[in-house]
Symmetry: C2
Subunit: 339 residues, 2 copies
């Protein structure tokens, strides 16, 4: 059998001090003054015996788990995380990196329809929860009844007592659309995932309309495509647009991956980007650079988004405004032509 794990008592014995002292040394507590020599004895013992603190015990007494829960949207329960959109993978990556750097670890979960996430959160005594993307309303309802700090990423729920991190989705979409307008386009399509009231997609839809209105262009319902955030749906759109009677000359897509699909669909229909149709994407994930042509897109700082989320959870002492808004930037590449 594996030998018993080394604990504080062992260190105390080895270093000829009490467990309290060991604890003080291990945690480098500033409010306790320990003799240099004692510190050294303890540290030597730790090294010699290979002591590693037991976080479960620490959690129990401190009532703090050093654990952050991240909820990732799934295509269907038990199926796949939405990593087909690279945005989520990049985000998770930055969350994990920043959390680990601060001594926290990341617990991931998919969503189950029947089981509330709250139970997991409470069982584990999570120190914070990061919810990515849109979820059913009752999901958020549940979460209201907890004292665990929650950060919503890419979800607009102003009335809820959660932190949120977002970009100016509406303005970003407006900028993207205006860019197209400035390039001489007036027949501009909108391509996105499902448009729901509390999601980024709706905001971006509003921004799209803002730009059109300001330019006195009427919104044409035939130019609105809304489905799933996938290259598959994008390819669908591409095909449909190619065969549309009064075809748009440009498309604003709310995700690079959709834009990517559109390009493929268009190619299949022998249309070329940007010669026949221009397109602007969103996110600036690696896909934008791997498209042919490379995608002009709205870049958001994914790393910062994850980083900020973790910081909000960990150092949320004196946060005044619960809503953090990050900057965006339009990256010009090759997918838009001047009309």
């Amino acid at each position: 059998m594996a030998t018993r794990r080394i604990n504080m008592k062992d260190i105390a014995r080895e270093a000829n001090v009490s467990v309290a002292t060991v604890s003080y040394v291990i945690n480098k507590r500033k409010d306790q003054t320990i003799a240099k020599s004692t510190i050294k004895r303890v540290e030597d013992a730790v090294k010699k015996l290979g002591y590693v603190p037991n976080l479960a015990a620490k959690a129990l007494v401190e009532n703090k788990s050093y654990l952050i829960g991240v909820v990732i949207p799934q295509t269907e329960p038990g199926k796949q995380f939405m990593f087909s959109n690279p945005f989520y993978g990049e985000l998770l990556s930055s969350i994990e990196f920043v959390a680990r750097d601060k001594g926290y670890h990341v617990l991931i979960s998919g969503t189950d329809v029947d089981q509330s996430y709250l139970e997991i959160a409470n069982k584990r005594g999570l120190d914070g929860i990061i919810i990515v993307g849109i979820h059913p309303d009752n999901y958020y309802e549940d979460l209201k009844n907890t004292s665990i700090p929650v950060v919503l990423i890419d979800s607009y729920c102003d009335n809820l007592p959660f932190f949120s991190i977002s970009i100016e989705d509406r303005k970003s979409a407006k900028i993207a659309t205006q860019y197209l307008i400035n390039k001489g386009h007036r027949k501009i399509a909108f391509a996105s995932g499902v448009i729901t009231g509390n999601g980024v997609t709706y905001e971006r839809f509003l921004g799209y309309k803002d730009a059109l209105e300001e330019a006195n262009i009427e919104v044409n319902d035939d130019y609105i495509y809304s489905g799933t955030v996938s290259q598959e749906y994008g390819a669908d759109i591409g095909l449909k647009i190619a065969n549309q009677k009064d075809r748009p000359t440009a498309i604003f897509s709310t995700a690079d991956i959709i834009a990517f699909g559109i390009i493929n669909g268009l190619k299949k229909a022998k249309l070329s980007v940007p010669n026949d149709i221009s397109i602007v994407g969103f996110d600036d994930t690696w896909i934008a650079r791997d498209c042919d042509p490379q995608l002009t897109t709205i870049k958001q700082d994914v790393f910062k988004k994850g980083q900020k989320a973790v910081e909000l959870l960990i150092d949320n002492e004196n946060i005044t405004n619960k809503n953090t808004v990050l900057d965006i930037e339009l990256i010009e590449r090759e997918s838009v032509a001047q009309l």
Copy 2:
């Protein structure tokens, strides 16, 4: 301040029983016989007070964390998880799903060069570790010194005391290559990520050579492309192959995402798949279906791979052979032409 969490003592008081009895009921212990009426009283109290067990306490006394660690390869520390290859996302998804179903949760980590993962594992008292992909040798060395069960996915380290899950990579690659040979191809290129001794890529390389040898085709070094597992590198290969003097007529790629890139690179060079060049991929991720043309590829059961990994960690009582080998299947689609 948040009110104190409900604990067993509260339930015991409410239900007029002892904490031991509460524990027995909560855990539905078969070895204890409890009066129906008592059970009901306890369950009612649990519901009334909204009791949720504290896993940290349970972990402390049981010496069991119900936590499984998953190590995902990263492009660089602090950069991104390798989710640009959809395979990893799908795998993680299935691991999380199966684990949760069994009452375990999943802790994810990237890899740090300087800090051993072992420390995290020990601190958390992980019940199991799943290592995905290839890592530096010292990574595995560290892990040998732990009593935590380890499952290696897609890594060949026979001499190490770990479980492993794999497919017959060598045979799979041979099947793929033979398929190409049977279609009349003799100039067959090999495209992969870095080829290292303990990785799947090397095995697949061997399988590729096996098939060639059996067909008396000499291995041509000019046909071996080895770089990173990315669409970007694939696009590179595509371009290079297009301009190659004695161009191959077919390519076997060890990852769909590379194959996908190759197709794009080839297209850019005005070559068409499969008319000019045939290609077989590997994994059967969503990318294979989203390619144009759709990719003929080796399908591996990613869900089962994740599921098996979790099962090995949790129910590893009487496992006889440490190496689990899963089946594969060649999926015929549109990317290969008869010569």
